[in-house]
Protein backbone atom coordinates (compact mmCIF):
# COMPACT_ATOMS: atom_id res chain seq x y z
CA UNK A 1 0.00 0.00 0.00
CA UNK A 2 1.43 3.32 -1.06
CA UNK A 3 1.94 5.79 1.79
CA UNK A 4 3.18 8.79 -0.20
CA UNK A 5 0.51 11.43 -0.80
CA UNK A 6 0.50 13.25 -4.14
CA UNK A 7 1.22 16.55 -2.41
CA UNK A 8 4.55 15.18 -1.20
CA UNK A 9 5.42 14.16 -4.75
CA UNK A 10 4.80 17.74 -5.86
CA UNK A 11 7.28 18.98 -3.27
CA UNK A 12 9.86 16.40 -4.35
CA UNK A 13 9.56 17.32 -8.02
CA UNK A 14 9.76 21.04 -7.29
CA UNK A 15 12.82 20.58 -5.08
CA UNK A 16 14.53 18.47 -7.71
CA UNK A 17 14.05 21.17 -10.33
CA UNK A 18 14.58 24.17 -8.03
CA UNK A 19 18.22 23.19 -7.61
CA UNK A 20 18.94 24.27 -11.18
CA UNK A 21 16.01 26.50 -11.94
CA UNK A 22 16.12 29.49 -9.60
CA UNK A 23 12.97 30.95 -11.12
CA UNK A 24 10.84 28.31 -9.43
CA UNK A 25 9.12 29.95 -6.47
CA UNK A 26 6.76 28.27 -4.02
CA UNK A 27 4.17 30.37 -2.19
CA UNK A 28 2.11 29.25 0.78
CA UNK A 29 -0.62 30.83 2.89
CA UNK A 30 0.37 29.31 6.25
CA UNK A 31 -0.13 26.05 4.38
CA UNK A 32 3.41 24.72 3.94
CA UNK A 33 2.79 21.85 6.34
CA UNK A 34 -0.58 20.92 4.88
CA UNK A 35 0.95 21.10 1.42
CA UNK A 36 3.96 18.94 2.39
CA UNK A 37 6.09 21.87 1.28
CA UNK A 38 8.03 22.41 4.51
CA UNK A 39 11.14 20.73 3.03
CA UNK A 40 11.02 23.17 0.11
CA UNK A 41 10.87 26.14 2.48
CA UNK A 42 13.79 24.72 4.48
CA UNK A 43 15.97 23.88 1.50
CA UNK A 44 15.14 26.80 -0.77
CA UNK A 45 14.33 29.75 1.50
CA UNK A 46 15.31 32.21 -1.24
CA UNK A 47 12.70 30.65 -3.52
CA UNK A 48 9.92 30.39 -0.95
CA UNK A 49 7.35 33.04 -0.08
CA UNK A 50 5.03 32.93 2.91
CA UNK A 51 2.05 35.28 2.76
CA UNK A 52 0.16 34.28 5.89
CA UNK A 53 -3.49 33.30 5.88
CA UNK A 54 -4.35 35.51 2.92
CA UNK A 55 -5.34 33.58 -0.18
CA UNK A 56 -6.11 36.68 -2.25
CA UNK A 57 -2.64 38.02 -1.51
CA UNK A 58 -1.17 34.59 -2.28
CA UNK A 59 -2.54 34.49 -5.80
CA UNK A 60 -1.97 38.16 -6.66
CA UNK A 61 1.63 38.03 -5.42
CA UNK A 62 2.17 34.86 -7.45
CA UNK A 63 0.89 36.68 -10.54
CA UNK A 64 3.24 39.58 -9.88
CA UNK A 65 6.17 37.17 -9.55
CA UNK A 66 5.20 35.54 -12.84
CA UNK A 67 5.11 39.00 -14.45
CA UNK A 68 8.87 39.31 -13.91
CA UNK A 69 9.70 35.82 -15.13
CA UNK A 70 9.43 33.72 -11.99
CA UNK A 71 7.64 30.35 -12.08
CA UNK A 72 5.35 30.51 -9.07
CA UNK A 73 3.56 27.52 -7.55
CA UNK A 74 0.98 28.79 -5.08
CA UNK A 75 -0.29 26.11 -2.71
CA UNK A 76 -3.29 26.46 -0.46
CA UNK A 77 -6.25 24.25 0.51
CA UNK A 78 -8.39 23.77 -2.59
CA UNK A 79 -11.48 24.92 -0.71
CA UNK A 80 -9.99 28.39 -0.12
CA UNK A 81 -7.87 28.67 -3.25
CA UNK A 82 -10.82 28.04 -5.54
CA UNK A 83 -13.22 30.37 -3.77
CA UNK A 84 -11.53 32.99 -1.55
CA UNK A 85 -9.05 33.87 -4.27
CA UNK A 86 -11.28 32.99 -7.21
CA UNK A 87 -11.19 36.47 -8.61
CA UNK A 88 -7.43 36.70 -8.33
CA UNK A 89 -7.21 33.43 -10.25
CA UNK A 90 -9.55 34.84 -12.87
CA UNK A 91 -8.14 38.36 -13.29
CA UNK A 92 -4.48 38.24 -12.25
CA UNK A 93 -3.62 34.74 -13.50
CA UNK A 94 -5.97 33.72 -16.30
CA UNK A 95 -7.02 37.05 -17.78
CA UNK A 96 -3.55 38.59 -17.55
CA UNK A 97 -2.14 35.24 -18.76
CA UNK A 98 0.46 34.84 -16.04
CA UNK A 99 2.45 31.64 -15.56
CA UNK A 100 0.99 30.78 -12.17
CA UNK A 101 0.41 27.20 -11.09
CA UNK A 102 -2.28 27.04 -8.43
CA UNK A 103 -1.94 23.92 -6.29
CA UNK A 104 -5.20 23.10 -4.53
CA UNK A 105 -4.27 20.77 -1.70
CA UNK A 106 -6.56 18.63 0.44
CA UNK A 107 -9.14 18.80 -2.33
CA UNK A 108 -12.63 17.30 -2.43
CA UNK A 109 -13.59 15.85 0.94
CA UNK A 110 -10.00 15.29 2.10
CA UNK A 111 -10.73 17.22 5.27
CA UNK A 112 -13.61 14.82 5.98
CA UNK A 113 -14.98 15.74 9.36
CA UNK A 114 -13.97 19.41 9.19
CA UNK A 115 -17.15 20.22 7.34
CA UNK A 116 -18.31 22.03 4.25
CA UNK A 117 -16.09 25.09 4.80
CA UNK A 118 -13.08 22.86 4.16
CA UNK A 119 -14.51 20.75 1.35
CA UNK A 120 -13.87 21.75 -2.25
CA UNK A 121 -16.67 20.16 -4.21
CA UNK A 122 -16.89 23.22 -6.45
CA UNK A 123 -13.33 23.73 -7.64
CA UNK A 124 -13.57 21.93 -10.99
CA UNK A 125 -16.67 23.87 -12.00
CA UNK A 126 -15.30 27.16 -10.72
CA UNK A 127 -11.85 26.95 -12.23
CA UNK A 128 -12.93 25.36 -15.51
CA UNK A 129 -15.37 28.23 -16.09
CA UNK A 130 -12.49 30.72 -16.25
CA UNK A 131 -11.19 31.28 -19.80
CA UNK A 132 -7.48 30.42 -20.08
CA UNK A 133 -7.46 28.41 -16.84
CA UNK A 134 -6.58 24.71 -17.10
CA UNK A 135 -7.73 22.15 -14.56
CA UNK A 136 -5.84 18.97 -13.64
CA UNK A 137 -6.66 16.23 -11.13
CA UNK A 138 -3.84 13.68 -11.13
CA UNK A 139 -4.82 10.19 -10.03
CA UNK A 140 -1.76 8.79 -8.32
CA UNK A 141 1.76 9.69 -7.26
CA UNK A 142 3.41 8.55 -10.48
CA UNK A 143 1.10 10.55 -12.70
CA UNK A 144 1.45 13.54 -10.37
CA UNK A 145 5.19 13.52 -10.98
CA UNK A 146 4.81 13.51 -14.76
CA UNK A 147 2.14 16.19 -14.62
CA UNK A 148 4.21 18.60 -12.51
CA UNK A 149 7.21 18.03 -14.74
CA UNK A 150 5.09 18.84 -17.79
CA UNK A 151 3.67 21.94 -16.11
CA UNK A 152 7.18 23.16 -15.32
CA UNK A 153 7.79 23.31 -19.06
CA UNK A 154 4.90 25.55 -20.02
CA UNK A 155 4.19 29.18 -19.26
CA UNK A 156 0.44 29.26 -18.86
CA UNK A 157 -1.77 29.34 -15.76
CA UNK A 158 -3.21 26.11 -14.37
CA UNK A 159 -5.07 24.78 -11.37
CA UNK A 160 -4.03 21.41 -9.99
CA UNK A 161 -6.06 19.61 -7.34
CA UNK A 162 -4.60 16.95 -5.11
CA UNK A 163 -5.99 15.09 -2.12
CA UNK A 164 -4.61 14.99 1.39
CA UNK A 165 -4.20 11.27 1.86
CA UNK A 166 -1.97 8.79 0.07
CA UNK A 167 -3.88 7.06 -2.70
CA UNK A 168 -3.32 3.58 -3.96
CA UNK A 169 -1.24 3.43 -7.10
CA UNK A 170 -3.15 3.32 -10.35
CA UNK A 171 0.08 2.90 -12.29
CA UNK A 172 3.30 1.04 -11.74
CA UNK A 173 6.40 3.15 -11.22
CA UNK A 174 7.91 1.87 -14.46
CA UNK A 175 4.64 1.89 -16.37
CA UNK A 176 2.85 5.21 -16.12
CA UNK A 177 1.86 6.27 -19.62
CA UNK A 178 1.60 10.05 -19.71
CA UNK A 179 0.93 12.45 -22.51
CA UNK A 180 0.12 16.04 -21.60
CA UNK A 181 -3.56 16.86 -22.08
CA UNK A 182 -4.35 13.34 -23.31
CA UNK A 183 -6.42 11.05 -21.11
CA UNK A 184 -4.89 7.72 -20.19
CA UNK A 185 -6.79 4.53 -21.03
CA UNK A 186 -6.23 2.56 -17.84
CA UNK A 187 -8.24 -0.45 -18.91
CA UNK A 188 -9.56 -1.28 -22.35
CA UNK A 189 -13.12 -2.50 -22.63
CA UNK A 190 -16.11 -2.68 -24.92
CA UNK A 191 -19.38 -2.73 -22.92
CA UNK A 192 -19.26 0.38 -20.74
CA UNK A 193 -17.00 3.42 -20.45
CA UNK A 194 -16.00 4.65 -16.99
CA UNK A 195 -14.42 8.12 -17.01
CA UNK A 196 -12.88 9.28 -13.75
CA UNK A 197 -10.45 11.85 -12.41
CA UNK A 198 -8.26 12.26 -9.35
CA UNK A 199 -8.77 9.81 -6.52
CA UNK A 200 -11.72 8.19 -8.28
CA UNK A 201 -9.59 6.57 -10.96
CA UNK A 202 -8.31 3.72 -8.80
CA UNK A 203 -11.76 2.62 -7.53
CA UNK A 204 -12.96 2.82 -11.14
CA UNK A 205 -10.20 0.44 -12.16
CA UNK A 206 -11.17 -1.85 -9.29
CA UNK A 207 -14.79 -1.65 -10.45
CA UNK A 208 -13.71 -2.81 -13.92
CA UNK A 209 -12.16 -5.89 -12.29
CA UNK A 210 -15.40 -6.63 -10.44
CA UNK A 211 -17.37 -6.20 -13.66
CA UNK A 212 -15.00 -8.46 -15.54
CA UNK A 213 -15.89 -11.29 -13.15
CA UNK A 214 -19.47 -10.84 -14.23
CA UNK A 215 -18.57 -10.86 -17.90
CA UNK A 216 -18.85 -7.11 -18.39
CA UNK A 217 -16.02 -5.40 -20.22
CA UNK A 218 -15.40 -1.89 -18.87
CA UNK A 219 -13.12 0.70 -20.39
CA UNK A 220 -11.60 2.98 -17.74
CA UNK A 221 -10.35 6.41 -18.71
CA UNK A 222 -8.19 8.53 -16.43
CA UNK A 223 -9.29 12.07 -17.34
CA UNK A 224 -6.67 13.85 -15.24
CA UNK A 225 -6.89 16.71 -17.75
CA UNK A 226 -10.38 17.95 -17.00
CA UNK A 227 -9.62 21.12 -18.93
CA UNK A 228 -8.57 20.99 -21.69
CA UNK A 229 -10.82 17.94 -21.74
CA UNK A 230 -9.63 15.13 -24.00
CA UNK A 231 -12.84 15.01 -26.03
CA UNK A 232 -11.39 12.63 -28.61
CA UNK A 233 -10.78 9.98 -25.97
CA UNK A 234 -14.36 10.37 -24.75
CA UNK A 235 -15.89 10.12 -28.21
CA UNK A 236 -13.67 7.20 -29.26
CA UNK A 237 -14.67 5.19 -26.21
CA UNK A 238 -18.31 6.21 -26.08
CA UNK A 239 -18.78 5.19 -29.70
CA UNK A 240 -17.73 1.62 -29.04
CA UNK A 241 -19.48 1.05 -25.70
CA UNK A 242 -23.16 1.07 -24.76
CA UNK A 243 -23.09 3.59 -21.91
CA UNK A 244 -20.84 6.01 -20.07
CA UNK A 245 -20.27 6.45 -16.33
CA UNK A 246 -18.42 9.41 -14.85
CA UNK A 247 -16.89 9.39 -11.38
CA UNK A 248 -15.61 12.46 -9.56
CA UNK A 249 -15.06 13.81 -6.07
CA UNK A 250 -17.04 16.93 -6.87
CA UNK A 251 -20.53 18.40 -6.78
CA UNK A 252 -22.93 17.03 -9.40
CA UNK A 253 -22.96 20.30 -11.34
CA UNK A 254 -20.33 21.69 -13.66
CA UNK A 255 -17.71 19.03 -13.09
CA UNK A 256 -16.42 16.09 -15.08
CA UNK A 257 -19.87 14.52 -15.40
CA UNK A 258 -21.41 17.64 -16.88
CA UNK A 259 -18.53 18.05 -19.31
CA UNK A 260 -18.56 14.43 -20.47
CA UNK A 261 -22.35 14.50 -20.90
CA UNK A 262 -21.96 17.60 -23.09
CA UNK A 263 -19.44 15.86 -25.32
CA UNK A 264 -21.31 12.57 -25.57
CA UNK A 265 -24.69 14.15 -26.25
CA UNK A 266 -23.25 16.26 -29.04
CA UNK A 267 -21.18 13.56 -30.71
CA UNK A 268 -22.52 10.08 -30.01
CA UNK A 269 -25.69 10.33 -27.90
CA UNK A 270 -26.10 7.57 -25.36
CA UNK A 271 -26.75 7.16 -21.67
CA UNK A 272 -24.35 9.00 -19.34
CA UNK A 273 -24.74 8.31 -15.62
CA UNK A 274 -22.70 10.20 -13.10
CA UNK A 275 -21.31 9.41 -9.70
CA UNK A 276 -20.52 12.52 -7.68
CA UNK A 277 -20.91 14.05 -4.25
CA UNK A 278 -24.44 15.24 -3.42
CA UNK A 279 -25.67 18.78 -3.87
CA UNK A 280 -25.60 19.17 -0.11
CA UNK A 281 -23.10 19.35 2.74
CA UNK A 282 -21.54 15.88 2.76
CA UNK A 283 -21.92 13.45 5.62
CA UNK A 284 -19.29 13.59 8.36
CA UNK A 285 -16.48 11.07 8.21
CA UNK A 286 -13.11 10.19 6.77
CA UNK A 287 -12.73 10.36 2.99
CA UNK A 288 -13.09 6.59 2.84
CA UNK A 289 -16.28 6.60 4.90
CA UNK A 290 -17.71 9.42 2.81
CA UNK A 291 -16.87 7.66 -0.46
CA UNK A 292 -18.40 4.39 0.76
CA UNK A 293 -21.55 6.14 1.91
CA UNK A 294 -22.16 7.73 -1.49
CA UNK A 295 -21.21 4.70 -3.53
CA UNK A 296 -17.96 6.24 -4.71
CA UNK A 297 -16.08 2.98 -4.43
CA UNK A 298 -15.49 -0.08 -6.62
CA UNK A 299 -18.77 -1.72 -5.67
CA UNK A 300 -20.80 1.46 -6.14
CA UNK A 301 -19.22 2.17 -9.51
CA UNK A 302 -19.76 -1.41 -10.70
CA UNK A 303 -23.38 -1.20 -9.60
CA UNK A 304 -23.89 2.06 -11.48
CA UNK A 305 -22.31 0.52 -14.59
CA UNK A 306 -24.72 -2.40 -14.50
CA UNK A 307 -27.60 0.01 -14.00
CA UNK A 308 -26.50 1.89 -17.10
CA UNK A 309 -26.36 -1.32 -19.12
CA UNK A 310 -29.70 -2.67 -17.93
Amino acid sequence: MNNIPNRKVICDVLMEHAKDDHDIVVLCSDSRGSASLTPFFENFPEQAVEVGIAEQDLVSIAAGLAKVGKKPFAASPASFLSTRSYEQAKVDCAYSNMNVKLIGISGGVSYGALGMSHHSAQDIAAMAAIPNMRVYLPSDRHQTKYLIEALLKDEKPAYIRTGRNPVEDTYAEDNCPFEMDKATIVNEGSDVTIIACGEMVKPSLDAAKLLEKEGISAEVIDMYCVKPLDTEAIIRSAKKTKAVITVEEHAPFGGLGSMVAQVVSANCPKKVLEIALPDAPVITGTSREVFDYYGMNAEGIAKKAKEALS
Partner: protein
Protein backbone atom coordinates in the same frame (compact mmCIF):
# COMPACT_ATOMS: atom_id res chain seq x y z
CA UNK B 1 8.40 71.19 -14.94
CA UNK B 2 6.16 73.92 -16.33
CA UNK B 3 6.02 71.98 -19.60
CA UNK B 4 4.77 68.91 -17.74
CA UNK B 5 2.20 71.00 -15.90
CA UNK B 6 0.86 72.19 -19.23
CA UNK B 7 1.10 68.67 -20.60
CA UNK B 8 -1.19 67.40 -17.83
CA UNK B 9 -3.91 69.74 -19.07
CA UNK B 10 -3.31 68.86 -22.71
CA UNK B 11 -3.67 65.18 -21.79
CA UNK B 12 -6.88 65.93 -19.90
CA UNK B 13 -8.28 67.33 -23.15
CA UNK B 14 -7.09 64.21 -25.03
CA UNK B 15 -8.74 62.04 -22.38
CA UNK B 16 -12.05 63.83 -22.68
CA UNK B 17 -11.96 63.52 -26.46
CA UNK B 18 -11.45 59.76 -26.08
CA UNK B 19 -14.47 59.63 -23.76
CA UNK B 20 -16.62 61.74 -26.10
CA UNK B 21 -15.75 59.53 -29.05
CA UNK B 22 -16.22 56.26 -27.14
CA UNK B 23 -19.43 57.38 -25.49
CA UNK B 24 -18.36 56.40 -21.98
CA UNK B 25 -15.64 56.71 -19.41
CA UNK B 26 -14.71 57.31 -15.79
CA UNK B 27 -14.04 60.96 -16.30
CA UNK B 28 -13.80 62.13 -12.67
CA UNK B 29 -10.97 59.79 -11.71
CA UNK B 30 -9.24 60.35 -15.06
CA UNK B 31 -8.96 64.02 -14.22
CA UNK B 32 -7.80 63.55 -10.62
CA UNK B 33 -5.04 61.05 -11.46
CA UNK B 34 -3.44 62.95 -14.35
CA UNK B 35 -0.50 64.64 -12.58
CA UNK B 36 0.42 61.34 -10.93
CA UNK B 37 0.61 59.62 -14.31
CA UNK B 38 2.42 62.52 -15.95
CA UNK B 39 5.13 62.70 -13.29
CA UNK B 40 5.64 58.93 -13.36
CA UNK B 41 5.73 58.54 -17.14
CA UNK B 42 7.57 61.74 -18.07
CA UNK B 43 9.86 62.27 -15.08
CA UNK B 44 10.21 59.35 -12.72
CA UNK B 45 9.95 55.99 -14.42
CA UNK B 46 12.50 54.23 -16.57
CA UNK B 47 9.97 53.07 -19.14
CA UNK B 48 9.48 53.82 -22.82
CA UNK B 49 8.54 51.95 -26.00
CA UNK B 50 12.27 51.28 -26.44
CA UNK B 51 12.72 49.34 -23.22
CA UNK B 52 9.19 48.01 -22.66
CA UNK B 53 10.38 44.38 -22.72
CA UNK B 54 13.59 44.94 -20.80
CA UNK B 55 13.72 43.22 -17.41
CA UNK B 56 15.46 46.36 -16.12
CA UNK B 57 12.48 48.66 -16.77
CA UNK B 58 10.35 50.14 -14.04
CA UNK B 59 6.89 48.63 -13.63
CA UNK B 60 3.59 50.44 -13.44
CA UNK B 61 0.22 48.99 -12.42
CA UNK B 62 -2.99 50.97 -12.66
CA UNK B 63 -5.01 49.34 -9.91
CA UNK B 64 -7.83 51.85 -10.34
CA UNK B 65 -8.27 50.45 -13.82
CA UNK B 66 -11.36 52.50 -14.57
CA UNK B 67 -9.09 55.52 -15.09
CA UNK B 68 -7.95 53.85 -18.28
CA UNK B 69 -8.87 56.79 -20.52
CA UNK B 70 -6.26 58.97 -18.78
CA UNK B 71 -3.83 56.06 -19.05
CA UNK B 72 -4.51 55.79 -22.81
CA UNK B 73 -3.80 59.50 -23.25
CA UNK B 74 -0.50 59.17 -21.38
CA UNK B 75 0.59 56.02 -23.23
CA UNK B 76 -0.22 57.69 -26.55
CA UNK B 77 1.83 60.76 -25.64
CA UNK B 78 4.67 58.47 -24.56
CA UNK B 79 4.61 56.69 -27.93
CA UNK B 80 3.26 53.31 -26.84
CA UNK B 81 -0.07 53.73 -28.60
CA UNK B 82 -1.46 55.73 -31.51
CA UNK B 83 -3.80 58.44 -30.29
CA UNK B 84 -6.06 58.62 -33.35
CA UNK B 85 -6.49 54.86 -33.29
CA UNK B 86 -7.28 54.77 -29.58
CA UNK B 87 -9.75 57.62 -29.93
CA UNK B 88 -11.57 56.11 -32.89
CA UNK B 89 -11.72 52.58 -31.47
CA UNK B 90 -12.15 53.08 -27.73
CA UNK B 91 -15.09 51.03 -26.43
CA UNK B 92 -16.17 50.19 -29.98
CA UNK B 93 -17.32 46.72 -31.06
CA UNK B 94 -14.44 44.27 -31.23
CA UNK B 95 -11.88 46.83 -30.00
CA UNK B 96 -8.79 46.01 -27.96
CA UNK B 97 -9.10 49.46 -26.41
CA UNK B 98 -11.56 48.51 -23.69
CA UNK B 99 -12.71 50.34 -20.59
CA UNK B 100 -9.99 48.89 -18.36
CA UNK B 101 -6.27 48.16 -18.84
CA UNK B 102 -5.63 45.35 -21.31
CA UNK B 103 -2.17 43.82 -21.23
CA UNK B 104 -2.40 42.71 -24.83
CA UNK B 105 -1.69 46.36 -25.64
CA UNK B 106 1.85 47.78 -25.57
CA UNK B 107 2.73 49.53 -22.33
CA UNK B 108 0.12 47.86 -20.15
CA UNK B 109 1.67 45.32 -17.79
CA UNK B 110 -1.37 43.69 -16.22
CA UNK B 111 -5.10 43.58 -16.70
CA UNK B 112 -7.10 45.26 -14.01
CA UNK B 113 -10.63 46.44 -13.54
CA UNK B 114 -11.69 44.68 -10.40
CA UNK B 115 -10.42 46.77 -7.52
CA UNK B 116 -8.02 45.71 -4.79
CA UNK B 117 -5.72 43.64 -6.98
CA UNK B 118 -2.99 46.10 -7.94
CA UNK B 119 -1.15 46.40 -4.64
CA UNK B 120 -0.62 42.67 -3.98
CA UNK B 121 0.27 42.13 -7.65
CA UNK B 122 2.83 44.92 -7.31
CA UNK B 123 4.19 43.29 -4.16
CA UNK B 124 4.82 40.19 -6.29
CA UNK B 125 6.52 42.23 -9.01
CA UNK B 126 8.75 44.06 -6.54
CA UNK B 127 9.60 40.82 -4.75
CA UNK B 128 10.38 39.08 -8.03
CA UNK B 129 12.57 41.93 -9.21
CA UNK B 130 14.54 41.73 -5.97
CA UNK B 131 14.91 37.94 -6.38
CA UNK B 132 16.16 38.62 -9.90
CA UNK B 133 18.74 41.08 -8.58
CA UNK B 134 17.11 43.99 -10.40
CA UNK B 135 16.98 47.58 -9.18
CA UNK B 136 13.72 48.26 -11.04
CA UNK B 137 11.10 50.19 -9.15
CA UNK B 138 7.42 49.24 -9.06
CA UNK B 139 4.65 51.83 -8.93
CA UNK B 140 0.98 51.16 -8.33
CA UNK B 141 -1.83 53.70 -8.37
CA UNK B 142 -4.97 52.97 -6.39
CA UNK B 143 -8.16 54.88 -5.84
CA UNK B 144 -9.34 55.77 -2.35
CA UNK B 145 -12.71 54.05 -2.72
CA UNK B 146 -10.71 50.93 -3.54
CA UNK B 147 -9.22 50.95 -0.03
CA UNK B 148 -12.36 49.28 1.29
CA UNK B 149 -11.23 46.06 -0.42
CA UNK B 150 -9.59 43.83 2.20
CA UNK B 151 -7.04 42.55 -0.30
CA UNK B 152 -5.45 46.03 -0.36
CA UNK B 153 -4.54 45.61 3.30
CA UNK B 154 -3.19 42.13 2.66
CA UNK B 155 -0.89 43.86 0.19
CA UNK B 156 0.12 46.52 2.70
CA UNK B 157 1.00 43.74 5.17
CA UNK B 158 3.11 41.83 2.66
CA UNK B 159 4.90 44.96 1.40
CA UNK B 160 6.01 45.64 4.95
CA UNK B 161 6.84 41.99 5.72
CA UNK B 162 9.23 41.82 2.77
CA UNK B 163 10.68 45.36 3.21
CA UNK B 164 10.04 46.22 -0.42
CA UNK B 165 11.70 49.61 -0.61
CA UNK B 166 11.51 49.68 -4.41
CA UNK B 167 7.73 49.54 -4.20
CA UNK B 168 5.79 52.78 -4.19
CA UNK B 169 2.01 52.86 -3.86
CA UNK B 170 0.10 56.00 -4.74
CA UNK B 171 -3.42 56.61 -3.49
CA UNK B 172 -5.41 58.97 -5.67
CA UNK B 173 -7.22 60.50 -2.71
CA UNK B 174 -10.00 62.40 -4.44
CA UNK B 175 -12.46 61.65 -1.64
CA UNK B 176 -15.32 60.71 -3.94
CA UNK B 177 -16.62 57.38 -5.15
CA UNK B 178 -19.65 56.46 -7.19
CA UNK B 179 -22.11 56.70 -4.28
CA UNK B 180 -20.73 59.90 -2.82
CA UNK B 181 -18.06 60.97 -0.35
CA UNK B 182 -15.61 58.20 0.57
CA UNK B 183 -16.03 59.29 4.16
CA UNK B 184 -19.75 58.57 4.01
CA UNK B 185 -19.39 55.30 2.14
CA UNK B 186 -16.46 53.81 4.10
CA UNK B 187 -14.35 56.31 5.97
CA UNK B 188 -10.56 56.52 5.75
CA UNK B 189 -10.18 59.71 7.74
CA UNK B 190 -7.01 58.63 9.54
CA UNK B 191 -5.54 57.17 6.34
CA UNK B 192 -2.00 58.48 6.90
CA UNK B 193 -1.75 56.81 10.31
CA UNK B 194 -3.45 53.67 9.08
CA UNK B 195 -0.96 53.03 6.33
CA UNK B 196 1.91 54.11 8.56
CA UNK B 197 0.78 51.60 11.17
CA UNK B 198 1.25 48.90 8.53
CA UNK B 199 4.96 49.77 8.53
CA UNK B 200 5.06 51.89 5.39
CA UNK B 201 6.76 55.22 4.88
CA UNK B 202 3.88 57.58 4.16
CA UNK B 203 3.96 60.96 2.43
CA UNK B 204 0.94 63.19 1.99
CA UNK B 205 0.95 65.70 -0.88
CA UNK B 206 -1.26 67.78 -3.12
CA UNK B 207 -1.67 65.17 -5.82
CA UNK B 208 -2.49 67.68 -8.52
CA UNK B 209 0.72 69.62 -7.81
CA UNK B 210 3.53 68.22 -9.91
CA UNK B 211 6.28 69.82 -7.80
CA UNK B 212 4.99 68.23 -4.60
CA UNK B 213 4.42 64.88 -6.29
CA UNK B 214 7.86 64.82 -7.83
CA UNK B 215 9.47 65.62 -4.48
CA UNK B 216 7.51 62.77 -2.88
CA UNK B 217 8.65 60.29 -5.53
CA UNK B 218 12.24 61.38 -4.92
CA UNK B 219 11.78 60.89 -1.18
CA UNK B 220 10.38 57.40 -1.88
CA UNK B 221 13.52 56.56 -3.83
CA UNK B 222 15.66 57.57 -0.86
CA UNK B 223 13.62 55.54 1.61
CA UNK B 224 15.35 52.29 2.51
CA UNK B 225 14.04 49.18 4.22
CA UNK B 226 10.34 49.87 3.74
CA UNK B 227 7.92 50.62 0.92
CA UNK B 228 6.49 54.09 0.45
CA UNK B 229 2.88 55.11 0.13
CA UNK B 230 2.11 58.53 -1.30
CA UNK B 231 -1.30 59.85 -0.38
CA UNK B 232 -1.98 62.12 -3.31
CA UNK B 233 -4.76 64.49 -2.26
CA UNK B 234 -6.48 65.31 -5.51
CA UNK B 235 -9.65 66.87 -6.86
CA UNK B 236 -12.02 64.57 -8.69
CA UNK B 237 -12.86 66.10 -12.05
CA UNK B 238 -9.84 68.42 -11.77
CA UNK B 239 -9.59 71.03 -14.52
CA UNK B 240 -13.07 72.44 -14.87
CA UNK B 241 -15.69 73.71 -12.48
CA UNK B 242 -18.24 71.81 -14.57
CA UNK B 243 -17.03 68.51 -13.15
CA UNK B 244 -14.85 69.21 -10.09
CA UNK B 245 -15.87 67.46 -6.86
CA UNK B 246 -19.06 66.05 -8.29
CA UNK B 247 -19.73 62.38 -7.51
CA UNK B 248 -22.14 62.24 -10.45
CA UNK B 249 -19.14 62.70 -12.77
CA UNK B 250 -17.56 59.41 -11.63
CA UNK B 251 -18.74 57.93 -14.90
CA UNK B 252 -20.19 60.51 -17.21
CA UNK B 253 -20.09 61.70 -20.79
CA UNK B 254 -20.29 65.47 -21.07
CA UNK B 255 -23.05 67.06 -23.13
CA UNK B 256 -21.83 69.20 -26.02
CA UNK B 257 -22.44 72.30 -23.96
CA UNK B 258 -20.51 70.86 -21.01
CA UNK B 259 -17.76 69.72 -23.33
CA UNK B 260 -17.26 73.19 -24.73
CA UNK B 261 -17.03 74.72 -21.27
CA UNK B 262 -14.61 72.01 -20.09
CA UNK B 263 -12.34 72.48 -23.09
CA UNK B 264 -12.34 76.23 -22.47
CA UNK B 265 -11.49 75.72 -18.78
CA UNK B 266 -8.74 73.22 -19.54
CA UNK B 267 -7.20 75.53 -22.09
CA UNK B 268 -7.23 78.32 -19.55
CA UNK B 269 -5.53 76.11 -16.95
CA UNK B 270 -2.99 75.03 -19.52
CA UNK B 271 -2.11 78.57 -20.57
CA UNK B 272 -1.59 79.51 -16.93
CA UNK B 273 1.18 76.92 -16.59
CA UNK B 274 3.60 79.10 -18.54
Amino acid sequence: MSNLKALAYKLRKDTIDIIMEGGGGHIGGDMSVMEILVDLYFKQMNISPDNQDSPDRDFFILSKGHSVEAYYAVLCEKGFLDYEEVKSKFSKFGSQYIGHPNNKLPGMEMNSGSLGHGLPVSVGIALGNRMNGKTSRTYVVMGDGELAEGSVWEGFMAGNMYHLDKLCAVIDRNRLQISGSTEDVMAHEDLFKRVQSFGWHVISVDGNDLDELDKAFEEAKQTKGKPTCIIANTTKGKGSKVMENKASWHHHVPSLEEYEQIVKDLEECRSMQG
